[in-house]
């Protein structure tokens, strides 16, 4: 596999990071509507919990750039960046986040339960829950003789769940085409990784299951591209699973409204200075793959796309309440 992305791939990754970030910024402000000064989760156009992915975009794009719609992705309670990079229908996704009839599930799922079968994307709010289904989807492809790899995304907190260890072993013993991607943002709500995890790096746990474990430092888009490219190529060639841990950064709170008092002073400011999007922009400008004009163009187009999705969601109706009774069974 080629470890250097093509120009097209580079611009694709950059554009999808910009798309995702702008989506999160817009969700952030829409979420706060109706919630200031009194923060009541039930209020506003987007009620409920909200886990933003700001800062973690490199993980999503560096992996998903190698995937096609037929490949399978399972994600977590913090799913938006991955959904954007996997090509989930943006209109239907944003409408689902608003709970509207035109949403992916007509509003039954909400932001932690985004399912887009067209691109084989799903996510779940239970920690570690995406791994089993990824293994099973990979098995299904193998049994059906159909192409495709499965990628399970998770936070570093999930590596301490039983499901993590069981799924890694299963994928390895059956040599299935799965890639396990840990987005290590150093925190599981208020609990720091080093306070909860017996090893400093989870990629080392791969050796316990006889699979390669790869570590990517510093939220580096192209290093992620390279590591994921190798792992996905191995999976496609029938060489079995890989575990990748990426050092990434959670630039927002665990969820909206998080006081974040548990963070060491200055941590967040430091992380913001290393924001991966301006960093990658600079890299592309320096490589002359982007200039100020094309950048402005790209950013404006991305923003327009997100604005259109938000308008679509806002203009959509809710399903009639009785629709709650439908779709329990098909």
């Amino acid at each position: 596999m080629n470890h250097t992305p093509t120009t097209e791939q580079r611009l694709w990754m950059y554009r999808h990071m910009v798309l995702s970030r702008y989506l999160e910024e817009r969700i952030e402000s829409l979420y706060m509507e109706g919630k200031t000064p009194v923060f009541n989760m039930a209020k506003g156009p987007i009620p409920g919990e909200m886990h933003l992915s700001n800062g973690q975009e490199p993980c999503a794009v560096g992996v998903c750039v190698h995937l096609t719609p037929e490949d399978i992705v399972t994600a977590t309670h913090r799913p938006h960046h991955i959904a954007v990079a996997k090509g989930v229908d943006l209109d239907a996704m944003v409408a689902e986040i608003f709970g509207k009839a035109t949403g992916l599930a007509g509003g039954r799922g909400g932001h932690m339960h985004l399912f887009d079968a067209k691109v084989n994307f799903s996510c779940s709010g239970i920690i570690g829950e995406g791994l089993g289904p990824a293994v099973g989807a990979a098995l299904s492809r193998k049994l059906q003789g159909k192409p495709g790899v499965a990628v399970a995304f998770m936070g570093e907190g999930a590596a301490n769940q039983g499901a993590f260890h069981e799924a890694l072993n299963l994928a390895a013993v059956w040599q299935l085409p799965v890639v396990f991607v840990i987005e290590d943002n150093a925190w599981g709500i208020s609990v720091a990784k080093q306070a909860s995890t017996a090893v400093p790096r989870n990629d080392r746990r791969a050796s316990a299951y006889g699979m390669p474990g790869v570590h990517v430092a510093d939220n580096d888009v192209e290093a992620i591209f390279s590591a994921a490219g190798d792992a996905i190529a191995r999976a496609r060639e029938g060489q079995g699973p890989t575990l990748i841990e990426i050092e990434t950064a959670r630039l927002a709170g665990h969820f909206m409204g998080d006081g974040e008092d548990y963070r060491p002073k200055g941590e967040k400011e430091g992380l913001k200075q290393r924001d991966p999007i301006p960093r990658y922009r600079r890299q592309l400008l320096d490589a002359e793959l982007l200039d100020d004009i094309s950048d402005t163009d790209l950013v404006e187009q991305a923003h327009a796309r997100i604005e259109a999705a938000i308008r679509f969601a806002q203009d959509s109706e809710f399903l009639p309440p009785e629709a709650a009774l439908e779709m329990v069974f098909v």
Partner: protein, 343 residues
């Protein structure tokens, strides 16, 4: 045994604070008591019920855990059997799926399997309930699921006075107790707190007997039975019915296991009518159990078929329009009463 409104001065507590206060008082008296769970340490619990404990007792006795529910709930069983009195938190009851084996095959059965020679004095506290659009994996009550499985006591308070007394009793109990606290009663403003749950609470330590229901409002036309947040819906419905000239009695179960069937039966014997209100799923749950408990005992006392206002048998939808439509509320209880009077 005190009732909900007696014995207290002017100081009020939220349920979150009442739980933390009971825990702190027991921890001061008994070095065997310790707390484990996700974010229970410096953060004080996502729902505030371990606030202040870390500062007072330190990291040794107030332990933030990895996201490893099977391990730390199993560990609580082991520690409890070995002479400690752990309190563990399952952050949302919906997460029981990843650790139910530790709960119902270990925690609930070890006393029995050992012929009573092994004690399992532990508390599993867990949050329940929705109403704020947290969707299908963060909004369930699952009261019936836990109460159905033998071997664990189950409590679900509706106010801070009961919460403190039941928490103290749960910690002192030599049996495993599941302490289910409803998010909307917790006193966390961001969850849209029910004001009626924040009530006067005595500062001194006290225990409420587990397994005793209480009549929180007396009446003679209908008995409304509920627990946790449902009690507050019932109280509002009772007020609305009073405006129509009917008098409703409200029974707060407080405990599901053991279930105080006597108090329920006595109330229905008096009123002749029964409506059970449950935010848990309709079928195979608390509401059916309460009705059966009355009917199998004496159906002649009933002037009308009992009714239930429960959550429909569907996963909890995210969209507020659908969720609010599906949840029990005071209007639905009043409607149920009207229909009962028509038929």
């Amino acid at each position: 045994m005190s009732m909900t409104t007696t014995g207290a001065g002017t100081r009020k507590l939220t349920i979150a604070r009442a739980m933390a206060e009971a825990t702190a008082q027991e921890m001061r008296n008994d070095p065997r008591v310790f707390v484990m769970g996700e974010d229970v340490g410096p953060l004080g619990g996502v729902f505030g019920n371990t606030r202040g404990l870390y500062d007072e007792f330190g990291a040794e006795r107030v332990r933030d855990t990895p996201i490893s529910e099977t391990a730390f709930i199993g560990a609580a069983v082991g520690a409890a059997s070995d002479g400690m009195r752990p309190i563990v938190e399952l952050m949302f009851v919906d997460f029981f799926g990843v650790c139910m084996d530790a709960i119902y095959n270990l925690m609930a059965k070890n006393i029995y399997f050992s012929g009573g020679k092994v004690k399992v004095p532990m508390v599993l506290m867990t949050s329940t309930g929705g109403g704020y659009s947290d969707a299908g994996q963060h909004s369930q009550c699952l009261y019936g699921t836990f109460a159905h499985l033998p071997g664990m006591k189950v409590v679900a308070p509706s106010n801070a006075y009961d919460a403190k007394g039941l928490m103290t009793a749960a910690i002192r109990d030599d049996n495993p107790v599941v302490f289910m606290y409803h998010k909307s009663l917790q006193g966390m403003g961001w969850l849209g707190t029910e004001k009626g749950a924040t009530v006067p609470v005595p500062e001194e330590s006290y225990a409420l007997e587990i397994g005793k229901a209480t009549v929180v409002r007396e009446g003679h036309d209908v008995t409304l039975v509920s627990l946790a947040a449902g009690v507050h819906h019932c109280l509002r419905a009772a007020q609305a019915l009073e405006d129509e000239g009917f008098s409703a009695e409200v029974v707060d179960l407080r405990s599901l296991v053991p279930l105080d069937r006597e108090t329920i039966r006595a109330s229905v014997a008096k009123t002749g009518r029964l409506i059970v209100v449950d935010e848990d799923y309709h079928s195979y749950g608390v509401s059916g159990e309460i009705i059966a408990s009355v009917v199998e005992h004496d159906h002649a006392c009933l002037k009308a078929a009992p009714r239930r206002v429960a959550y429909p048998d569907i996963p909890i939808p995210f969209a507020p329009t659908m969720e609010q439509w599906a949840l029990p509320n005071a209007d639905k209880i009043v409607d149920a009463f009207h229909q009962m009077m028509l038929s």
